[in-house]
């Protein structure tokens, strides 16, 4: 396994609350990492350190290091907008931008000047295809994105995120607001995407973790209790808490 994301001595504080405690992790390239744990254990908080989303909140303080291919994302000379193009995020609930379907996918490419004209149109088509949405929307690209179903919207958000050419895709329970069929569709897409991208998901659905994870991280009360290849953690957890959680004794 080749490490792409290296987390060292990471701590996060919300005001006075110590939300993440001394996190050290190595996340593998080209695999799906799933972070599991009970509500409030810091899963999402950890995920948001990977694209520096905590920068947006004044009352949140992050210390420590997150390295992406050896570059510390928290180094003072790192441009945060660039971090967020390299590390894309799919949110819990899809929020299309208030524009047309086409413009939603084109938006990121426009602000980063990645493509224009015909190239832009081709890329929009390409990413909509990758997200498995093209056939459903090709005849109505200029209609408002809000008219899509919620499952389609989540795939649109995936296409939109892929369009800025990230290396890592984060998913904050990206299927939790979707119906089972849409959720399965997103899961299938993510499985395909790991050929080209590193995927890190937060999930509270154990079934999903079992199904998708190559690498599993179990968190409890702001700490990483256990992390390792999914098969090993799922079948032979070393820690009692992990075992209890996996057996559904708490969630």
């Amino acid at each position: 396994m080749e490490t792409q994301i290296k987390i060292r001595d990471l701590n996060v504080y919300y005001n006075k609350v110590h939300a993440l405690k001394d996190i050290n992790l190595d996340l593998p390239r080209g695999q799906i990492t799933v972070i599991v744990g009970p509500s409030g254990c810091g899963k999402s908080t950890l995920l948001k350190t990977l694209n520096r989303f905590h920068d947006l909140a004044d009352d949140t303080q992050v210390t420590g290091h997150v390295e992406l291919d050896g570059v510390d994302l928290y180094a003072p000379d790192v441009e945060v907008t660039e971090v967020r193009t390299k590390v894309g995020l799919i949110a819990q609930r899809p929020f299309p931008l208030p524009m047309s379907i086409f413009e939603n996918v084109a938006y990121g490419m426009r602000i980063h000047k990645l493509a224009r004209g015909k190239e832009l149109r081709d890329k929009v088509k390409h990413y909509l295809e990758v997200a498995g949405l093209w056939d459903e929307v090709k005849g109505r690209l200029n209609t408002p994105a809000r008219d899509l179903s919620i499952g389609q919207q989540q795939r649109l958000c995936l296409a939109r995120g892929l369009a800025v050419e990230p290396e890592v895709i984060l998913g904050d329970e990206p299927t939790s607001s979707l119906d089972p069929i849409s959720a399965k569709f997103i899961e299938e897409r993510l499985e395909e995407l790991k050929k080209d991208y590193t995927v890190v998901l937060v999930s509270h659905v154990l079934r999903q973790a079992r199904h998708l994870a190559d690498y599993l991280v179990f968190m409890y009360l702001g700490e990483v209790v256990e992390a390792g290849p999914a098969e090993q953690v799922l079948n032979a957890p070393k820690n009692d808490r992990t075992r209890a959680y996996l057996q559904g004794e708490f969630y």
Partner: protein
């Protein structure tokens, strides 16, 4: 399962009646005002009134019309709205994009609320004091400046309210694509809030065009259409005021007709605002 009359039912029924009565009072007052203006003003409303400036002795029942006041009011309120927009939008942006829930933002909001509550006459007097200090005369330009001050609080606070209603997840979606704060604000906040922003601008225009006290000292009054920012300007509210105070029934009638013109203008603006808001909300995420 038979229907019974419990206290909760009675309360419910009573509350609904109170609500209906209160609404009736509101609609009744509006209707009464409109009917008064229409009955008293309509007979005096003719083409001359809205296409001619006052001729000699107009305010004593002579020939002419109120074109000076119509144009003056549109210039005053239009100019004020335009200037206020240039100041209000950055403030509304600042509060919602850059300062967030900080103390500065709440301080600004409080300042704006206080400014909103200050009577327009005080704005007028304030403007007048400044004008005296600089040796200026009542003019269109001064009137526009004071109206700008009057309009800023209402415009910023209305913009602020609609921007605050934009879900933070929407801006976060833009941030997660690597947008800067300004890019996210333009592409998400403005687009999402656009219908409300237009309403805010037209609301401010409505306040500007309907206000008499602030332009009384600062824009003055003139029988002529202003030719420059330095010349004094008439306005519809003041035209109404002057004419309604006349002992001549003919002139008072013209006053009601002037009020009718002003009311129709405001009605038109409010309908335009609703129409635009609907048109512009095509892409808005709900």
């Amino acid at each position: 399962m038979k229907k019974r009359w419990t206290l909760a039912h009675l309360e419910d029924r009573a509350m609904r009646t109170i609500m209906q009565l209160a609404s009736l009072v509101l609609v009744g007052v509006l209707a009464a005002i409109l009917v008064t203006i229409f009955i008293r003003g309509l007979p005096f409303l003719d083409l001359d009134l809205i296409t001619k400036t006052p001729q000699g002795g107009f305010f004593l029942g002579g020939e002419g019309g109120i074109l000076n006041a119509i144009v003056g009011s549109l210039l005053l309120a239009g100019g004020g709205t335009l200037l206020a927009l240039f100041i209000s939008l950055p403030i509304a942006f600042g509060i919602n994009v850059y300062t967030g829930a900080s103390r500065l933002a709440s301080l600004l909001r409080m300042a704006l609320d206080v400014l909103w509550g200050i009577p327009s006459l005080v704005y007028g007097a304030f403007g007048f004091t400044i004008m005296i200090a600089f040796g200026m005369r009542a003019s269109l330009g001064a009137g526009i400046l004071v109206l700008t001050l009057l309009q800023i609080p209402i415009m910023v606070r209305s913009m602020d309210e609609v921007m605050r209603m934009v879900p933070s997840e929407l801006s976060q979606a833009a941030y997660s694509l690597g947008a800067t704060r300004l890019e996210a604000a333009w592409s998400v906040l403005v687009r999402q809030a656009l219908p409300g922003l237009v309403t805010a601008v037209l609301l401010a225009f409505g306040r500007g065009i309907g206000d008499a006290a602030s332009v009384l000292f600062t824009a003055g009054f003139s029988d002529r259409i202003p030719t420059s920012l330095a010349s004094p300007s008439a306005s519809l509210p003041l035209a109404v005021f002057f004419q309604l105070g006349s002992p001549f029934p003919e002139v008072r009638g013209n006053g009601y007709a002037t009020a009718l013109v002003l009311t129709v203008l405001i009605l038109f603006i409010s309908m335009l605002s609703r129409f635009l808001a609907r048109r512009l909300s095509r892409n808005v995420i709900r």
